[in-house]
Symmetry: C2
Subunit: 69 residues, 2 copies
C-alpha cells in the first residue's frame, strides 16, 4: 500500500515525530508506514484522513491485485 504521508508532511513542514504526536502513535510507527513496512490499521487511517482533511483514498493507494477470475 503506497501512501502520500511524506509529501503531506513536507507540505506542512512536519517531522515524523510531529505527525506521530498528532496521531498519538510512536515515531517508529510513522516511519514504518512511510517506508512501507506495514499498513496502518483502519482506525489510524481514519485519523490520518481527518488530520489532513481528505478522504482515505486520497492518502493511501491500494495495490491489491484484481482477481483473474
Amino acid at each position: 500500500m503506497k501512501n502520500r504521508l511524506k509529501v503531506l508532511r513536507a507540505e506542512r513542514d512536519w517531522t515524523q515525530a510531529d505527525l506521530a504526536d498528532k496521531l498519538e502513535v510512536s515515531r517508529q510507527t510513522i516511519n514504518a508506514i512511510e517506508k512501507g513496512k506495514y499498513d496502518p490499521s483502519l482506525p489510524l487511517a481514519f485519523k490520518v484522513a481527518r488530520l489532513f482533511e481528505m478522504p482515505i483514498e486520497a492518502i493511501f493507494e491500494d495495490e491489491t491485485e484484481v482477481e483473474v477470475s
Copy 2:
C-alpha cells in the same frame, strides 16, 4: 467502528459466506466485522470499498474521539 456491511449485503441478497468469498476472507471474519468484534485491516477495507464501488468512508464510520486538547 460502525459499518454498513449487513445492509449492503442485504441490498444484494448476499450471505456472509458470499461476501467472504468475494473478499477472499473467512466467513467468521465477515461475521466478526459485522458484529463489531474488530475492525478490518486497511487493505480489507479497500477491498470492500472496491467491491461495493463506494468510498471507504461511505461504508465504515469512524467513532474515534476527538482530542480535548
